[in-house]
C-alpha cells in the first residue's frame, strides 16, 4: 500500500492521517522505551541521591556501586543466573525433543489414533484441575518441592506448540517418508535424519518461545523453591524488589554489612541484569517471533 500511495497524488486527508500516524506511533514507542530507560539510569544512581531526590532519568552523577555489589559474589545473583540458564537449556531441549516427536507422530496419516491423542492433548487447554490440586500433586506425590525440576517439568510441553509443530510438519510431503520406508529406514530414523533437518525453522520458532518462557520463569520458583540459591533469576529479582528478605539473597560467608547495601539502586541493577540478555538477543529473536506470530494468526 505504501508504494501505491506515493505514486498517486495525495489528498490533504491522507497527509493528515499519515502525520497523525507518525505522531501517535512515535509517542507510543517512546512510552514503550521509557520504563527501560528509567530502570537503566536508576541502576547507575548514587544511593544518597535516590534517597534524597528519588529515581531520575538523568542522574547528577553515575555510580557503579550497585553492580559492584551484585557481581562481587556477595549476593546470590550468580546462583540465580545458573539456575535460570540450567532450566532454560534443559527445559527447551527436552521440550523440543518431546514436542517434535509428538508433532511427527500426530502428523503421520498412517497413525490410526492420531485424532484421539490430539483430542487428549487439546482437552487440557479447556479444563484444568486447578492450582491447588496441582500443588498437592507436585509436593505430596511427586516430591518436587525445592527441586529444579519443579520449574522445568510443568512447563516443558505446551499443547499449542505441539499443534504448531504438527502443522509445520504438514508442509513436508508424505512421499518423502514413504520412499524412506521403502529404503528400509525405521520411524525414528526417518524422524531424526529426514524430518529434523527440514524442521529447523519451526524448531527455532518454538524453541525461542519456550526459551523465553523459561527465562522469564518465576511463578513455579515462587511456589516450589525453598532454598534461595535455587531461585530463578526473575524470582530472585522479585524478592529483591519486595525486599521481604534481602538477607537470604546475600551469601552468608560474604564480608558485607547489610546496612551498607545500596538497596534502592541494587533493585534496578538486578532488574537490568535480569533483562539484559533478552535485550541483547532481541534484534535476532524478534524476526522469528514475528514469523511465529503471523503463522499463529492465520488460524486465530
Amino acid at each position: 500500500m505504501a508504494s501505491t500511495s506515493t505514486k498517486i497524488k495525495q489528498d490533504s486527508g491522507s497527509i493528515f492521517i499519515k502525520l497523525i500516524s507518525y505522531i501517535c506511533i512515535t509517542i507510543f514507542a517512546l512510552f514503550c522505551l521509557f520504563p527501560f530507560a528509567l530502570m537503566i539510569s536508576s541502576s547507575f544512581m548514587n544511593e544518597q541521591e535516590i534517597v534524597r531526590e528519588g529515581y531520575k532519568l538523568i542522574p547528577n552523577e553515575f555510580s557503579f556501586k550497585a553492580y559492584e555489589v551484585l557481581l562481587g559474589s556477595s549476593t546470590k545473583l550468580l546462583d540465580a543466573y545458573q539456575v535460570t540458564i540450567f532450566i532454560t537449556v534443559v527445559g527447551t531441549v527436552l521440550g523440543l525433543f518431546m514436542m517434535s516427536m509428538a508433532g511427527f507422530v500426530l502428523n503421520r496419516k498412517d497413525f490410526k489414533y492420531r485424532n484421539f491423542f490430539s483430542f487428549l492433548i487439546y482437552f487440557t487447554t479447556l479444563f484444568s484441575g486447578g492450582l491447588i490440586p496441582t500443588y498437592i500433586l507436585m509436593v505430596k506425590h511427586l516430591h518436587l518441592k525445592d527441586s529444579l525440576f519443579a520449574m522445568i517439568l510443568p512447563a516443558v510441553v505446551g499443547a499449542w506448540s505441539i499443534f504448531l509443530m504438527r502443522n509445520f510438519m504438514k508442509a513436508i510431503p508424505d512421499s518423502l517418508y514413504e520412499s524412506a520406508t521403502i529404503d528400509g529406514a525405521g520411524d525414528f530414523h526417518i524422524y531424526w535424519r529426514i524430518f529434523m533437518p527440514l524442521a529447523v525453522p519451526s524448531l527455532a520458532t518454538i524453541g525461542l518461545f519456550s526459551a523465553l518462557g523459561f527465562w522469564n520463569e518465576w511463578y513455579n520458583g515462587m511456589l516450589y523453591m525453598d532454598t534461595p540459591a535455587k531461585y530463578p533469576l526473575q524470582y530472585f529479582l522479585q524478592r529483591m524488589v519486595a525486599q521481604t528478605n534481602m538477607g537470604s539473597l546475600i551469601n552468608s560467608g560474604a564480608v558485607i554489612n547489610t546496612a551498607d547495601l545500596p538497596t534502592q539502586s541494587i533493585k534496578m541493577a538486578t532488574a537490568v541484569m535480569a533483562t539484559g540478555p533478552i535485550i541483547l538477543l532481541y534484534p535476532f529473536v524478534q524476526r522469528y517471533f514475528v514469523t511465529g506470530l503471523t503463522i499463529g494468526a492465520v488460524k486465530g
Binding site: 500500500m1 505504501a2 501505491t4 500511495s5 506515493t6 489528498d11 486527508g13 491522507s14 492521517i17 499519515k18 500516524s21 507518525y22 506511533i25 507510543f28 514507542a29 522505551l33 528509567l38 530502570m39 528519588g54 529515581y55 518431546m98 514436542m99 509428538a102 507422530v105 503421520r108 498412517d110 497413525f111 489414533y113 487428549l120 487440557t124 479447556l126 479444563f127 484444568s128 484441575g129 486447578g130 492450582l131 491447588i132 490440586p133 496441582t134 498437592i136 511427586l142 517439568l153 510441553v157 520411524d187 522469564n216 511463578y219 526473575q234 524488589v241 519486595a242 533493585k267 534496578m268 535480569a274 533483562t275 532481541y282 514475528v290 506470530l293 503471523t294 499463529g296 494468526a297 488460524k299
Partner: protein
C-alpha cells in the same frame, strides 16, 4: 461389549505394528497424564474439609459447604466481578488499540521508521511481568518513585499510590495495554498485509481517499478477525493475568477490593492461608465456568463462521 473387546484388540494390534511411533509419542502422553489428567480428580478437594495429613481422599466430605461459605461472605461475587470486568476491558480496549496501531503502521511509508517502531512496540512482550512490577515500583513508589520525584520537584505533595485502590484499576489496564499492544498489532498487521493489493489500487483509481479506504475497506476486512479474537477471548474471561496482578499488587491488602481477581485469591488461599479447600473450590468454579464458556463461545463461532470454530 463385543465391539469394545474388538476395539481393544485393534489398539493392541496397532500398538504392536507401530510400536516405535507409540514410543515416540509416549513422553508427551506421560506428561499430559501426570501433569494434567492426574490433577483433575484432585479437584475433589473442593468438596472436602482438607487436612494435610489425611490427604485429598481421606479428608471428610462436606459437599458444597466451601462454595456456600464463599457465596455468603460475598468474596466469590467480588472476585468474579473484578475478573470479568478487567478481562472485558482488556479485550475490548486492547483489541481496539491494536487495530488502530496496526492501521496507522500500515499507512506509514518510511521503511526504517516502520521497522524500528514495530520492534520497539513489541519489546514489552519479551520481558517478564516481574520486570513490569519493577517498572511500577520505579515509577510509583512513595519515597523514590519517578512520578513522586517529579511532583515534589514541582512543589506538589507526594502521592501514596500504594494505598489508593482506585488508581490501580487504571495502572493495571495501562500496563496490560502497554505490554500487549505489540503482539496484537502484528496479528492485525498480518491480516492487513494479507489484503489483496489490487483492491486498494482499484479504490485509488475510483478516487477513494485514505480515510474512505480505511473506513470502507480495511475495517470491514478486519472485522471478522476482531470478532473472532473477541469471542475466543471470552472463553478465557475468568482466567489469566495472575502475573500482572501479582507483580503489581503483591500482598498489599489495601488494594484488594479493586484489584483482587480469582487467580490471586486462589493463590493466596494456598500460600498465605493454607486454606486448600476454599481455594480449590474457587479454582474448580473457575475451571468449570471456563469450560462452559468455551463450549458456548465455540457454539456461537460455529454459527457465525463455521471455518473458524475450534471443534
Amino acid at each position: 461389549m463385543a465391539r469394545i473387546v474388538q476395539g481393544g484388540r485393534n489398539i493392541a494390534r496397532d500398538l504392536l505394528k507401530n510400536k516405535v511411533l507409540y514410543l515416540m509419542l509416549l513422553p508427551v502422553i506421560v506428561y499430559f497424564a501426570v501433569f494434567h489428567y492426574a490433577v483433575m480428580p484432585g479437584a475433589y478437594v473442593a468438596f472436602v474439609d482438607y487436612k494435610l495429613n489425611k490427604g485429598i481422599f481421606g479428608s471428610d466430605f462436606i459437599g458444597l459447604k466451601n462454595f456456600e461459605f464463599l457465596v455468603q461472605t460475598g468474596e466469590l461475587w467480588n472476585i468474579t466481578k473484578n475478573t470479568l470486568l478487567y478481562n472485558l476491558v482488556f479485550l475490548a480496549l486492547g483489541n481496539i488499540i491494536q487495530i488502530v496501531f496496526a492501521i496507522m503502521l500500515s499507512e506509514i511509508a518510511g521503511k526504517w521508521f516502520k521497522k524500528i517502531s514495530q520492534s520497539v512496540i513489541l519489546l514489552p512482550n519479551f520481558i517478564s511481568m516481574v520486570i513490569v512490577g519493577v517498572f511500577a515500583y520505579n515509577l510509583f513508589n512513595f519515597n523514590s518513585g519517578f512520578i513522586n520525584t517529579i511532583m515534589s520537584g514541582a512543589g506538589l505533595d507526594r502521592y501514596e499510590f500504594y494505598s489508593d485502590p482506585g488508581i490501580w484499576k487504571y495502572i493495571i489496564v495501562a500496563f496490560k495495554i502497554w505490554a500487549g499492544t505489540g503482539y496484537g498489532m502484528i496479528v492485525y498487521l498480518a491480516a492487513i498485509t494479507g489484503i489483496n493489493h489490487d483492491l486498494y489500487e482499484a479504490a485509488y483509481m475510483d478516487g477513494a481517499t485514505t480515510w474512505q479506504r480505511i473506513r470502507y475497506m480495511t475495517l470491514p476486512i478486519l472485522k471478522p478477525t476482531f470478532i473472532l479474537l473477541l469471542l475466543f477471548g471470552m472463553g478465557g474471561i475468568l482466567k489469566g493475568s495472575f502475573d500482572l496482578f501479582y507483580n503489581l499488587i503483591g500482598t498489599n491488602s489495601v488494594l484488594y477490593p479493586q484489584t483482587d481477581i480469582i487467580d490471586t485469591y486462589v493463590f493466596r488461599s494456598l500460600v498465605g492461608q493454607f486454606n486448600f479447600s476454599m481455594g480449590a473450590a474457587v479454582g474448580f468454579y473457575q475451571s468449570l465456568f471456563g469450560l462452559l464458556l468455551v463450549l458456548v463461545v465455540n457454539f456461537i463461532v460455529r454459527k457465525v463462521e463455521p471455518d473458524s470454530a475450534l471443534f
